[in-house]
């Protein structure tokens, strides 16, 4: 091998991989990430972790308080609800609903929004007009009311909720991605691809998409919180995940009468879970936004 000396001093391939070191962990939000990972693991191993069946209760054990209160037992660590179902088990299985709905709905919205945003921004002309007017119309609709309307039509089920949230929230992606594509389209490397004979589709797939995927990921993490809240709201309003399936929003809804007579554990625990998860997702999203910002990223 006769490689000139100056080449030998170049960073090797291994160093250039986006290692954790390169991302400079200094500001990495450890607590939110831990919470999210924990919730994900809990959702994954719900069957092994839950001490009771979340959908079957015993009516002899209704409204048991958490174990540290008078009347509580270690059998039901966080108490039981109006049907005698274990609150902890329901929270554990509810994590599964929130995780699945949160991530897949964000992914569905992301795919639709990114696709339409790229088409709109790159093709321009009437395609752009049609997609952007559609987006304007969509944004003018109150999102929650629209989601309620849709779920009233297609009926409640977890996967219907995913699709409903997906087609409610794609507009945010489409707007942002279109804006990015408009500036990317004028970049020299896109023009070079044009004069090199690449078709529009090749350019959109190979040169535009990889350059906007960062933004899509950032919007996605920030959207997870919004989507989980909406899922909980829909479940609370009775048009979300159908009972007896345990969802955090549904648990809030079921527990609201109990709140008046002091059964606070029925609402406080699912509420805390929702808050923790949304807060963690948002903090992680903020961090990613800064990390992936092309201005701050070292390229």
């Amino acid at each position: 091998m006769s490689i000139p000396a100056d080449v030998l001093r170049l960073p090797s391939r291994a160093l250039r991989l986006p290692s954790l070191k390169k991302l400079r962990l200094g500001s990495f939000p450890i607590i939110p990430a831990t919470i999210l990972v924990a919730i994900a693991l809990i959702a994954l191993f719900a069957n092994q972790l839950a001490p009771h069946n979340p959908e079957v209760g015993s009516l002899t054990a209704r409204f048991k308080p958490p174990f540290w209160l008078k009347g509580g037992t270690y059998q039901y660590l966080l108490g039981t609800d109006q049907l005698g179902r274990d609150v902890l088990s329901r929270l554990i299985f509810g994590a599964r609903v929130s995780m699945v709905v949160g991530i897949t709905a964000v992914a569905v919205a992301g795919v639709i929004g990114t696709f339409l945003g790229i088409l709109s921004g790159y093709l321009g002309g009437w395609v752009d007009q049609v997609i952007m007017r559609l987006t304007d119309t969509w944004l003018a609709l109150p999102a929650l009311t629209f989601a309620i309307f849709l779920s009233a039509i297609v009926g409640p089920s977890m996967w219907n909720i995913v699709i409903i949230l997906g087609i409610t929230y794609w507009t945010r992606y489409a707007r942002v991605i279109r804006g990015e594509v408009l500036s990317l389209r004028e970049r020299e490397f896109v023009r070079l691809a044009i004069v090199a004979g690449c078709s529009k589709w090749t350019i959109m797939r190979r040169h535009i998409l990889p350059n906007v995927i960062n933004s899509a990921i950032v919007i996605g993490t920030l959207m997870i919180g919004v989507v989980i809240i909406t899922e909980a709201t829909l479940s609370f309003l009775g048009v979300g995940v159908p009972p007896p399936q345990p969802a955090w929003g549904l648990m809030l809804s079921d527990g609201k009468q109990g709140l008046m007579v002091g059964y606070w554990w029925l609402t406080v625990f699912p509420g805390l879970c929702i808050m923790l998860m949304v807060l963690s997702a948002n903090l992680l999203g903020d961090w990613l936004r800064v990390k992936l910002d092309p201005q701050l990223r070292q390229l």
Binding site: F189, V195, G197, C198, S199
Partner: protein
């Protein structure tokens, strides 16, 4: 040279920009006729806004939406490119006719490796399998004198110097062995030593592949060094066309003469730089006569009345100027030349 058919022949080609309401028409390229043979280098010079870049975009048919090719023919290897469909043009672009853009520094996608980008035209046009295209990419990098191409193909654009990126863009240009390479001000963003290197490289590549080069520039020094033929554009029109040496020695059009005399010279250090007085005309409302008449030191009354047609002052040269009219009364133009 004249015997063989030209690789590219433009015949009264016009490209106009039309405003949205259709009320304003900008004649960016107006009735341009010229020829380029294989292995030949054509320099296109002119002021900013004279239609040089629009002409290049017209050749590749990558015009912005507002621009139309309104008339004329572009014969390339015996086929008229004006009548081709967009799909047919996609298979010509990058394969038989390639282009190096004005700012090669920004012409590489920051997210892909060099090898990936050099291999792209091969994979798009010839469906070359990945491993073979990368092998070829390494050869191309070697051809454009990138040291240790084996290591470089796996690196990203930001790890390269400006001159290297420039040469890589050149490698992408020649990757499918095109017959014609269009370089739109390829050296404006480079410093002088790298400019010279790059120009030498282009010349070597041209010799090896019998490539025809079209050089768009406003640097007449580069034209003198690189080009065989010269096309001078003014206000969208081709005012003079012919072999470089003959045009430099005896320009037929006053605009060419003015351009040549505005080159700063070492020998006349005590003189002020010669500038061409006035501004180029608005391309959407051209005067009825010659578009250069208002700035021309030798303008005659007839120049303001009728636009000069294309004259052929000698074989292989054309000029759009009444002074080049062989049938003009000998007295009138001579008198003007004498006075000037």
């Amino acid at each position: 040279m004249m015997a063989e058919a030209a690789l590219l022949e433009l015949d009264r080609l016009s490209t106009h920009y039309v405003s949205a309401q259709g009320t304003r028409v900008v004649r960016a390229v107006d009735e341009v006729s010229l020829r380029v043979h294989a292995g030949e280098t054509l320099g296109i010079v002119g002021e900013s806004g004279s239609g040089k870049s629009t002409l290049a975009l017209t050749l590749l048919r990558v015009l912005p939406p507002a621009a139309r090719i309104v008339s004329g023919r572009m014969m390339f290897e015996g086929e008229d490119l004006v009548t081709k469909t967009d799909e047919e043009m996609e298979s010509i672009r990058g394969k038989r006719m390639a282009m190096v853009l004005q700012d090669p520094m920004a012409s590489l996608n920051p997210l892909f490796t060099i090898g990936n980008q050099v291999a792209e035209p091969l994979r798009v046009h010839e469906g070359t399998p990945k491993a073979k295209a990368w092998e070829r990419a390494r050869e191309l990098l070697k051809a454009v004198r990138i040291p240790s191409p084996e290591a470089r193909v796996r690196q990203y654009p930001h790890e390269m110097s400006g001159g290297m990126r420039q040469r890589i863009v050149g490698a992408i240009g020649i990757s499918c062995e095109p017959r014609l390479l269009i370089a739109d001000e390829p050296t404006t963003s480079l410093d002088l030593t790298i400019q010279a290197q790059y120009l030498n490289l282009l010349r070597d590549l041209q010799k090896q592949h019998n490539l025809a080069l079209i050089f768009i520039t406003h640097n007449l020094g580069i034209v003198a060094k690189m080009c065989d033929q010269l096309a001078v554009m003014y206000a969208g029109r081709l005012v003079e066309f012919g072999p470089v040496s003959r045009i430099f020695n005896a320009p037929a059009h006053p605009y060419t003469r003015a351009l040549l005399s505005s080159i700063p010279r070492m020998t006349e250090a005590d003189q002020r730089l010669t500038a061409i007085e006035g501004q180029p005309p608005d391309l959407s409302s051209l005067p009825p006569g010659c578009s250069f008449a208002a700035r021309c030191p030798q303008a005659m009354p007839q120049c303001r009345e009728a636009a000069p047609p294309v004259f052929e002052p000698e074989a292989g040269r054309t000029a759009r100027c009444w002074l080049a009219d062989p049938y003009a009364t000998a007295a009138a133009p001579r008198a003007v030349v004498g006075a000037a």
